[in-house]
């Protein structure tokens, strides 16, 4: 199923590439959607994070959803281990409950400190593309540098949330020091 999804993705990518001569390169959020999904591959959650063995792995978007339907398209039919994927959207941090990956949209930039504060100690991989979000305590910050998306990872924050981030993910990423705010 997972593979089929991958193939579907590849097919769609191929289609994009085919049409690439005419169509534009994938959009920023298309890439970021895939990144979000890919994080599920490199991060491991404590067992308590899942209610049951086949409980869904939930990817949530906090604030305005910049992905549109892209994120849904990416996770559709995919599984991580025994866990099916589910996409949720929250408008407020208080709504965030059983969530495993949380993308914090730029719309929430002002409240970022509060959000981080609210989620501290919880086993939720926080991802954001807000500038210096990592230093603000978000675990992974997606930074656009010369048309490429780079990662900044706050390892201490992730460790505080009981998450283990694969070293593989750490290697291409920039490690951001634990500046407690």
């Amino acid at each position: 199923m997972q593979r089929r999804g991958l193939i579907a993705l590849l097919v769609s990518l191929a289609a994009c590439t085919c049409c690439g001569a005419i169509a534009a390169a994938p959009s920023e959020y298309e890439v970021k959607a895939v990144f979000l999904f890919n994080f599920s591959q490199f991060v491991s959650w404590p067992p308590a994070a899942f209610g049951t063995a086949d409980a869904p792995l939930i990817i949530a978007v906090l604030g305005t959803d910049p992905f549109g339907h892209e994120l849904d398209a990416v996770v559709k039919g995919e599984r991580v281990g025994a866990h099916p994927l589910e996409v949720r959207r929250y408008s407020d941090v208080s709504q965030v409950k059983d969530c495993h990956i949380l993308f914090i949209d730029r719309s929430e930039a002002t409240q970022l400190g509060a959000i981080v504060q609210a989620l501290r100690g919880r086993s939720i991989l926080t991802v954001s593309d807000i500038d210096d979000a990592a230093r603000a305590g978000v675990m992974i910050n997606l930074v656009t540098q010369s048309d490429r998306i780079r990662m900044q990872i706050n390892v201490a924050a992730a460790r505080a949330g009981g998450l283990t981030i694969s070293s593989k993910l750490l290697r291409p990423a920039e490690i951001v020091g634990p500046v407690e705010g």
Partner: protein, 804 residues
């Protein structure tokens, strides 16, 4: 050289074996290496690929090409990677790596997954997977340098090991080789020494190893055997040479003693033996005679108590098996009880071999060899002696044959001479016969007329009568001389005219006749020969030819006198005996004995042969031959006893026969025909014809004379035709043209009743040759005696008259 040959081959063998083992091991090892090196390279690449792929997941997942390139650049540590590339899951080349200076192209799209060798390279396509999700493909291409490097290394190691193992193998091999080859080389060395020097006393040094020790032992044993055989062969050769020498030496000799002499000498010197002698078997007795002693023999003669000529009994001495043809070996004479070997033991000769001398399965003697020490003769010696004795026997046999041949040759030469003599005598006899015939014819008238004158002329003066008697005696002497002359040649046995003979009277006559020889002549030389006669009275008469017996006795007396040149006693003996034959009959035995020189065995054996004489030129060699002829003609027997120096006795035994048939009675000679007869006389000699005619006419017969055969036949046929045949025809035998035989035949044809009297100068000879022609009724010899003539006429003519 042979030495290095076996060493080298052993070395090579051992070395090659270990080399092949090492090579095969190395080859197997290399094959395994090749296989495992490829697998290892593949696995190494796989490991590398997996590591790189694993490290590339994040880079691919988050499209971080720099990171991916950096990850790939870690391949620098692996110098054999010639190209590497990362492809995204969409198949796009995402990142690539080439070593510095490398320009290996990368495929545009990710190749088929998996690892494989392709075109001299190892290619791997490894999926990049994170949490079961394929993120892309890693492509790796490696040259095979690693494998080659590995191989080089292994090759080097193999070479070094092989070199080392060769050295070690060489050391082991040379040591092992020495252990094997040293005893073999020692054997070879010994064998070479033996074959070069022919010295079989060399021995190979004993080896330690079992099999080689066995081999060496066997070799040494073989050498011992060869040395023994060599020795045996050598002694055999020596023996053979000795045998050859002896055989040659004895074959050059022709007489037994010298054969034995050379045989014994050679044996003593060369076998050698201490004593040797040869014995000959005595005929008909169970003894052997010691014939020849060897050169050493004299030293033992006394101790042995044996002399040449001594006889040794066979049975008492245990020689019988030797006489049966077996070789007898007494290894220790001291332990034998028989006297003959005991003598040897006493003489210090302790071992004894007696080899038989055997010819044609008959033992004629034995060869005796002895040695001082006991058990001194080996079986080879015995074998040799047996062989030698066979050769010696053969040579002896040859000598005997040679002797016999020589004797036969002598006999033959003698016979040849005898035949020549006889031929000469025959010619002489024929001549004498012719002369006798002529003389007989010539004296016939003298004899006839003398007889007539003495008979018919009573008026003769005493003186004339005396003269006539002298003439008559002279004529008789002439006639006898002629007769003897004719008897000189006697080609075969005569038909005897037998008469009664009184032996004692005859002996007296002989002694009278020979008195000059046994009495007068010796006395002139001062030699006395005494005569003794021992004559049995009342001897029966025998039937015989007096003259022949007289001649024979005369000859015997002459021989006896000749045998006594120094004088002695001549004895004549007569007696009656009875023969010891199967048919006993009475015999008259006469013996002439002398006390003279006697005869040797040879002379005694040969004395009866014609022309054999011991008297040199004086003797004819016919005397005893004549005696023997007489004896045979009289069915008598002759025996001679003689001892050299003691004299000779010759005995004659005449059978006494009662038969008197065919004997003309003296009385009948006085008979006269009782009537006047018509007679025909046929002769070519007119003198004889006339004298016969005169005498027969004087007897009152009617005589017709015919001077020749043809005239005689005419007269016979004429008389027959007239019917007045003659009462008898008296014809000469030898006449020209028509002889007495033809006359006799004509008489038989014309008047078969008429008897024919044949007169012949060959008278007796014709009788002897059974040559009386047919139709002849009586043969009278010339000169005819009146009495004989009358008697014949009376017999032939009167008898038929008496019958009728």
């Amino acid at each position: 050289m042979r030495r290095t040959g076996i060493k080298r081959s052993l070395m090579t063998m051992l070395w090659l074996t270990s080399g092949v083992v090492v090579l095969v091991t190395a080859a197997a090892f290399s094959a395994y290496e090749l296989l495992s090196a490829r697998q290892l390279a593949e696995r190494n690449l796989m490991t590398l690929g997996e590591a790189i792929a694993s490290n590339s997941t994040a880079a691919l997942a988050f499209e971080n090409a720099d990171d991916a390139t950096e990850t790939l650049s870690a391949l620098k540590a692996e110098p054999h990677i010639v190209a590497a590339g990362l492809y995204t899951s969409s198949g796009k080349l995402f990142a690539q790596y080439r070593p510095s200076g490398g320009s290996e192209p990368l495929p545009a799209t990710p190749p088929r997954l998996g690892y494989r060798f392709e075109e001299g390279s190892l290619i791997g396509a490894q999926p990049v997977v994170q949490e079961g999700r394929s993120l892309g493909t890693l492509y790796l291409k490696s040259d095979l340098g690693a494998i080659y490097e590995r191989f080089r290394l292994y090759g080097l190691i193999t070479l070094v090991i092989m070199g080392l193992s060769s050295v070690v193998a060489y050391l082991i091999a040379s040591r092992a080789q020495r252990q094997i080859s040293r005893p073999i080389l020692a054997l070879a060395e010994t064998a070479r020494a033996v074959s070069e020097k022919h010295d079989y006393s060399v021995r190979a040094p004993p080896a330690k190893e079992n099999e080689l020790a066995l081999l060496t032992h066997a070799f040494n044993h073989m050498l011992t055997r060869i040395a023994e055989d060599q020795g045996r062969l050598q002694s055999q050769l020596t023996r053979l040479e000795l045998l050859r020498r002896i055989t040659r030496a004895i074959s050059e000799r022709q007489d037994l003693p010298s054969i034995f002499q050379v045989l014994l000498r050679t044996l003593e010197d060369d076998l050698p033996i201490d004593f040797g002698c040869a014995c000959l078997k005595e005929e008909d007795t169970q003894t052997v005679k010691l014939a020849t002693l060897g050169g050493h023999g004299l030293a033992f003669v006394e101790a042995l108590g044996l002399q040449i000529g001594d006889t040794i009994p066979i049975d008492q001495n245990g020689l019988s098996s030797s006489i049966e043809g077996q070789l007898v070996y007494e290894p220790d004479t001291r332990e034998v009880r028989f006297p003959f070997p005991s003598r040897f033991a006493k003489a210090g000769l302790c071992s004894l071999v007696i080899a038989p001398l055997l010819v044609e399965n008959r033992v004629f003697g034995m060869l005796v060899c002895a040695r001082r020490s006991d058990h001194a003769f080996s079986s080879t010696d015995c074998e040799f002696l047996l062989q030698l004795s066979q050769h010696a026997a053969l040579a002896a046999r040859q000598a005997q044959l040679h002797d016999a041949l020589q004797r036969a040759y002598d006999d033959l030469r003698q016979s040849q001479q005898a035949v020549m003599q006889q031929e000469r005598l025959r010619a002489l006899g024929q001549m004498a016969s012719g002369i006798a015939h002529d003389i007989n014819n010539a004296i016939s008238p003298i004899s006839l007329y003398t007889d007539t004158l003495l008979e018919r002329e009573p008026g003769l003066s005493e003186r004339a009568r005396g003269y006539l008697v002298t003439i008559q005696r002279a004529i008789e002497d002439v006639a006898q001389t002629v007769a003897r002359m004719r008897e000189f040649y006697r080609p075969r046995e005569q038909q005897l005219v037998l008469a009664r003979v009184t032996m004692n009277r005859l002996i007296g006559e002989v002694l009278d006749l020979t008195r000059a020889r046994w009495s007068d002549l010796p006395q002139q030389r001062g030699v006395v020969i005494r005569l003794e006669t021992d004559l049995a009275p009342n001897l029966p008469e025998i039937m015989g030819a007096e003259g022949e017996i007289r001649d024979a006795l005369t000859n015997l007396v002459f021989n006896a006198v000749d045998a006594m040149p120094e004088g002695g006693t001549l004895t004549l003996r007569s007696r009656e005996a009875s023969s010891k034959d199967e048919e006993p009959h009475r015999e008259v035995r006469v013996e002439v004995c002398d006390t003279g020189i006697g005869m040797s065995e040879e002379t005694r054996r040969r004395c009866l042969e014609p022309f054999y004489t011991t008297k040199g030129e004086r003797g004819t060699g016919l005397g005893l031959a004549m005696v023997y002829g007489m004896v045979q003609r009289h069915s008598a027997e002759l025996d001679i006893r003689s001892v050299i120096g003691n004299g000779t006795t010759v005995g004659l035994s005449f059978p006494v026969s009662e038969a008197s048939s065919g004997v003309t009675e003296r009385a009948s000679a006085l008979a006269m025909p009782n009537r006047r007869l018509a007679l025909l006389l046929v002769d070519d000699d007119p003198l004889l014809l006339k004298s016969l005619r005169d005498i027969l006419e004087a007897d009152g017969h009617l005589v017709t004379a015919a001077d020749g055969g043809q005239k005689g036949i005419d007269a016979v046929t004429g008389a027959a035709q007239r019917g007045a045949p003659f009462d008898a025809v008296i014809t000469d035998l030898g006449m020209p043209y028509v002889d007495g035989r033809k006359v006799a035949a004509a008489v038989a044809a014309a008047s078969p009743e008429t008897p024919v009297i044949l007169l012949t100068g060959w008278g007796k000879r014709m009788l002897s040759e059974d040559d009386i022609p047919p139709h002849v009724d009586r043969v009278l010899s010339k000169p005819p005696k009146i009495a004989d003539l009358r008697s014949a006429l009376a017999d032939l003519v009167t008898r038929p008259a008496e019958v009728t």
